[in-house]
């Protein structure tokens, strides 16, 4: 009696699920999970943890040849052996999906309206009569907070911002009131403020309609903010399955603890130093892109100073001009107005030999180490390249220096002959850092250098950067959208918005006592509120 009522109230019931891909990887390993109706469950894990495999199994979209063992029941129906046409009846109607990348998840050549109405067309028996499709689509768009819904029906995806596209996708997912909604990293491609509003819309809609939600994310802070219950996955196994407060209080798994530590780490802020040795001075920097009608100002009157041996962070959302600033400092873009001094030398609008001189003092570390390292070169020759180009030392001296640099960035010696493809993401970023230091540069511009890495890898690179800074008196200009990381690495912070620095100051000043409206909005949108509250109550 008890057992049957349990079974019927569970929307999803997974027993001993094991998924093995055709090439042999076991991506899910004996998973047991039951989700009652109306619950919001978050799955947290790094890339390759098996969280995506789990969601793909639930919606029947595993690649062909994948072996699935165990049982998955959706509302009482066993779905592991469903036929294609049975699956098609469930997808979109019984189970909805909010995908990861809103930019690429809508058909670029079809209008927004037609893509919403398509769900009705695919499931005519579950939807309203044809005559009402259009008005229902408008209603849906309004329910996810899209303004001017009527006129947007005929727009194409490229005419909408990322946040609006994700709202459209949420509207599509909710269109037929599915029992289960799978959200696969739905906000990781969005700016924090946009992420916050999209999450609010999403969660309130799910609560209102009583939809069961499985929310996949790599970000524990986001997970704890919205979910009733958090699952932690690592290498195909479910490590934790607890409510949010229980996760914080009772977690025993080292992996979860590491994730939590990372999320809590805001206590160890850097103390501002008071040196008057200035490494970078930016004064009244302005930049205009385009000409004539297409002209737009991307930077105006940007000024800041970076003291030697400290970290200055530019934080802001996409399009705020922080990367453009970095490129101008590195001599890759000319400035329209203003000046940039690196080690006292003017570098705005330099060319030729002066640029090569600049690059001996200052180096750039890119966001994506995949793209920043030539896949055909060995690690050794990548690190040695600046020394070869600048003719530093002979080949024996260079080999010695490569070994020393690899040791400094904690790369095992035997990797020297490997190619980037054989290394992990974190190791590759270490290689990129080693190369940046090879020519003797003491100033590093880190352009979103941690954003492409998993949370725990970020942690290690952060430690490395900190250690290098202390050992080598390095100066960092850290460009990031991630408030959490910025808080930990910086001595001073400049908040950028629409090409201007709206506020700058020490970490304490910015994070504890923000003056500008935009800074406050940004900080309020920073996920992890629930975690912070729990942490505060624990320490109190």
């Amino acid at each position: 009696m008890n057992a049957t009522s349990n079974a019927s109230s569970a929307v999803i019931r997974i027993e001993d699920l094991t998924v093995q891909y055709a090439q042999g990887t076991v991506a899910a390993d004996s998973i047991n999970l039951e989700i009652p109706a109306g619950q919001i469950v978050a799955i947290v894990g790094e890339s390759g943890s098996g969280k995506s495999t789990l969601t793909k199994t639930l919606i029947g979209l595993l690649p062909q040849g994948t072996e699935v063992q165990g049982s998955v029941r959706f509302g009482g129906t066993e779905v592991t052996n469903l036929s294609l046409s049975d699956w098609r009846a469930i997808r979109g109607a019984g189970i909805g999906l909010v995908p990861q990348d809103p930019g690429a998840s809508l058909d670029p050549v079809k209008t927004i309206g037609s893509q919403i109405i398509e769900v009705f067309r695919l499931h005519p028996s579950r939807s309203v009569p044809k005559a009402q499709w259009r008005s229902k689509a408008i209603e849906l768009m309004q329910s996810v907070g899209i303004d001017r819904a009527e006129s947007r029906l005929d727009q194409f995806p490229h005419e909408l911002s990322g946040g609006l596209k994700q709202r459209v996708l949420i509207a599509i997912a909710f269109a037929l009131n599915p029992q289960l909604l799978i959200a696969d990293e739905p906000t990781s491609a969005l700016d924090v403020t946009v992420q916050r509003t999209v999450l609010e819309v999403f969660v309130s809609l799910a609560r209102k309609k009583g939809t069961t939600v499985l929310f996949v994310t790599h970000d524990l802070a986001v997970a704890t903010d919205i979910a009733d219950r958090v699952l932690v996955m690592n290498s195909g196994r479910l490590l934790e399955d607890r409510s949010v407060p229980a996760l914080v209080a009772q977690s025993t798994e080292p992996y979860t603890k590491a994730l939590l530590d990372q999320a809590y780490a805001h206590q160890d802020r850097q103390q501002p130093s008071t040196s008057d040795d200035i490494a970078i001075t930016v004064e009244g920097l302005g930049k205009v892109f385009g000409k004539g009608r297409n002209e737009h100002q991307v930077l105006s009157d940007v000024s800041f100073e970076v003291q030697r041996g400290t970290t200055f962070s530019l934080v802001g959302e996409s399009g705020s001009g922080k990367s453009t600033t970095a490129k101008i400092i590195m001599g890759m873009h000319p400035a329209t107005e203003g000046s940039v001094l690196v080690n006292g030398r003017e570098v705005a609008n330099i060319s030729g030999k002066q640029r090569y001189d600049l690059w001996r003092d200052a180096q750039l570390v890119y966001q994506n180490p995949d793209s920043a390292l030539d896949p055909r070169q060995s690690i050794g020759s990548i690190i040695a390249e600046p020394m070869v180009n600048y003719r530093l030392g002979d080949s024996a001296r260079r080999a010695q220096r490569v070994a020393q640099l690899m040791d400094q960035v904690n790369l095992p010696e035997q990797l020297v002959g490997r190619r980037p493809g054989e290394l992990s993401g974190g190791q590759r970023q270490r290689v990129a850092i080693a190369r940046a230091l090879a020519s003797g540069a003491k100033i590093l511009v880190l352009d979103e250098a941690l954003s492409a890495l998993d949370v725990l890898t970020q942690e290690q690179i952060l430690e490395l950067l900190d250690q290098l800074q202390r050992e080598e008196q390095l100066t960092y200009l850290f460009i990031s959208h991630d408030l959490h990381v910025v808080e930990r690495i910086s001595h001073r912070v400049g908040v950028m918005c629409r090409g201007q620095i709206v506020e700058s100051g020490t970490v304490d000043e910015i994070y504890s006592n923000p003056q500008h409206e935009y800074t406050r909005t940004l900080l309020a949108a920073n996920p992890g509120k629930v975690l912070r509250e729990l942490a505060d109550s624990r320490t109190a």
Binding site: A22, Q23, P63, Q64, G65, M330, M332, Y356, W359, R360, Q363, L364, Y366, N368, S371, A372, L373, D374, P375, R376, Q377, E385, P386, N389, Y390, G421, A432, R435, A438, S439
Partner: protein
């Protein structure tokens, strides 16, 4: 006619269904794996041998026939039969290989060298160079390859040199476009900029970081373009713009056989099959090269 070389990449992806696993790599033995990828070199080597040592492969004279043996159907003695003058068609095909391959080789050389340089300039030397090079390519494309070859062949003395040059000029556009696309693809990755910042000068970066990445696609296109050149040259030969008779040349052979279509099917069919197989082999080779150079 070299149009078909335009999309070497499509030849390459053609055998990859949506979610296929790489069965080819599962063959354990390295020799077997090598053979699975490179078996195509063996028949191609036969063609090259035909071109340089034709007398090893046939005892018949390709030029003077035995009138008594005219229009014989294929047999053990005459593999491809004989023509109206009693010449052995198989030996005419074998002896014709040199003419066709050398001309096609010349065409590829012209097309690939000039095209690659243009493509490199377009992709790396700034907007002005890009515009000039790409406008040039537009013009070459706007006048059909076939006409360029035809005009060059008539305006100068007909022969393998002008034929190869004409066909080669026509394929410049294809190489230039491919190289430019590949250069832009490589350049979109941060490591090219990083190489500049590591103190690399223009030619250093070109040599160390760009050219190694485009060698594979260019070699692959070269193989496919060889096939396209063989097709173009045999087409021109068929129309009578190749070498004058009685020099054996593949297109010319078929054109001569055309008059005997109703009595001797082998005169057109069998040399044609040789052309088809040669061209297909170059396509397979192109695919193998592309796979070998992929990173």
């Amino acid at each position: 006619m070299s149009l078909i070389t335009e999309h070497v990449g499509s030849v390459d992806t053609a055998d990859q269904p949506l979610a296929s696993t790489k069965t080819a790599t599962k063959i354990g033995n390295p020799a077997a794996r090598w053979f699975a990828a490179w078996w195509v070199l063996i028949p191609l080597a036969v063609f090259v041998a035909w071109a340089f040592l034709p007398s090893l492969f046939t005892g018949h004279d390709p030029i003077t026939g035995v009138p008594a043996d005219k229009l014989l159907a294929p047999s053990a003695e005459h593999l491809f039969g004989t023509d109206h003058l009693g010449r052995d068609i198989y030996s005419r095909v074998v002896y014709g290989t040199r003419q066709t391959l050398l001309t096609a080789g010349l065409a590829c050389l012209v097309g690939s060298v000039v095209g690659s340089i243009l493509g490199l300039l377009a992709g790396t030397a700034g907007r002005f160079a890009d515009t000039v090079a790409m406008r040039f390519v537009d013009i070459v494309l706007a006048v059909p390859a076939f006409l360029i070859a035809l005009i060059l062949v008539t305006a100068t003395e007909p022969g393998p040199l002008s034929l190869g040059l004409g066909v080669g000029i026509a394929s410049i556009a294809v190489f230039a476009r491919l190289v430019r696309t590949e250069v832009l693809r490589v350049r979109s990755r941060d490591f090219v900029q990083a190489a500049l910042m590591s103190g690399g000068k223009y030619f250093t970066v070109l040599r160390r970081h760009i050219i190694p990445h485009i060698v594979g696609p260019v070699l692959s296109l070269l193989a496919v373009d060889l096939g396209a050149a063989i097709l173009a040259i045999s087409g021109l030969g068929f129309l009578g713009f190749g070498s004058p008779p009685p020099t054996p040349e593949w297109g010319l052979l078929i054109s001569e056989g055309r008059q005997y279509l109703s009595v001797a099917w082998w005169l057109t069919t069998l040399p044609g099959l040789v052309i088809v197989s040669a061209v297909m082999l170059t396509a397979v080779l192109g695919r193998a090269i592309n796979k070998a150079f992929r990173f």
